[in-house]
């Protein structure tokens, strides 16, 4: 939707041991700042996972927290890989469904990349096509 104009400021993939596998910023900010934001969000993720309790928990964790003028959303897979997305807090509040569908599509791309025999699980993601697809996905929203 044109009104949003690339809300996504950063997309990150964090492995099961909380090691960063992939982080891509879409603005001119230094990446270190996004590393910091994503790192802080991991605590909130652990909190949410521990508190999800009984009942069918979903992979989408929703809004994790807000910092400065950014909003952070999270998603965790069954293999304990986390997807973190940082968005700029603008007037047009992004709908939960859109973020959920973005995470689903990101999961599909991630699963495809994971099955690539040249990728060793646990290593940082160096696949160029993964980076390109994520960039396209992010800009399409």
């Amino acid at each position: 939707m044109p009104a949003f104009d690339s809300m996504f400021v950063c997309v990150a993939v964090v492995g099961k041991n909380n090691d960063p596998l992939f982080l891509k910023g879409f603005t001119d900010e230094a990446e270190l700042k996004f590393h910091y934001i994503v790192h802080t969000s991991l605590d909130v993720v652990e909190d949410k996972v521990a508190n999800s309790g009984k009942g069918n928990p979903e992979m989408y964790l929703g809004h994790l927290y807000s910092i400065e003028d950014y909003k952070v959303y999270g998603y965790i897979t069954n293999s304990k890989n986390k997807f973190i997305v940082v968005m700029k807090d603008r007037d047009g509040v992004p709908k939960d469904n859109e973020i959920k569908s973005f995470f689903r599509r990101l999961h599909v791309v991630f699963a495809n990349m994971f099955c690539n025999p040249f990728y060793t699980p646990g290593q940082p993601i160096t696949s160029e096509s993964f980076g390109r697809t994520v960039a396209t996905l992010a800009s399409s929203l």
């Binding site: 099961k16 999800s52 009984k54 069918n56 928990p57 979903e58 992979m59 965790i76 897979t77 069954n78 293999s79 304990k80 999961h107 599909v108 991630f110 699963a111 994971f114 099955c115 025999p117 699980p121």
Partner: protein, 163 residues
């Protein structure tokens, strides 16, 4: 105008043949025909594949909270995705030991039922054990998997999950 199907299909028998050949090749290429090494190499193959398949097949399921749920997923979605059928019987002692019984194991369907080669069938279960171990590992449960063949074409997998 007929719409061409976008999904490409492959004959299932190809995997049976490929698997048999993989076992043969690894048997021949391992120095001294060391049975343990052969088993280990095949199991490692299965491990990486199981790892990836678990990632793919859990995409659309809910999050699993316990080892029992994960093993149930293995028996249903995972087994169906790979072998086109569910595991026939699942038993557990609720202390981390699970026994999966498949009465008509797909990889044995095209192998003769006679007892003549019963002692060599063990190598043909290595890859499948690796599959299970890889899937479990990706979902967060370290364990060991062993297989027994009581009678062809049935196969029994025993999983020990570390708690």
């Amino acid at each position: 105008m007929a719409k061409e199907s976008r999904s490409r299909e492959v004959a299932e028998s190809l995997f049976d043949l490929f698997h048999t050949e993989v076992v043969n090749t690894i048997t021949e290429s391992t120095p001294n025909q060391d049975k343990e090494k052969i088993y280990w190499r095949l199991e490692q193959l299965g491990f990486r594949v199981g790892h990836s398949l678990a990632e793919r097949y859990t995409k659309d399921t809910a999050r699993y909270q316990s080892s029992l749920e994960v093993v149930k997923f293995l028996c249903k979605e995972f087994w169906v995705g790979i072998y086109k059928k569910q595991v026939d019987n699942l038993r557990t002692n609720h202390k981390g030991v699970f026994v999966l019984q498949d009465n008509k194991f797909r990889l044995f369907c095209n192998i003769s039922n006679s007892q003549q080669y019963a002692d060599q069938i063990h190598l043909y279960t290595a890859y499948s054990c690796g599959l299970i171990r890889g899937a479990l590992a990706n979902l967060g449960y370290i364990g060991t998997v062993s297989a027994e063949v009581p009678a062809m074409p049935a196969c029994v997998f025993k999983i020990h999950v570390q708690t």
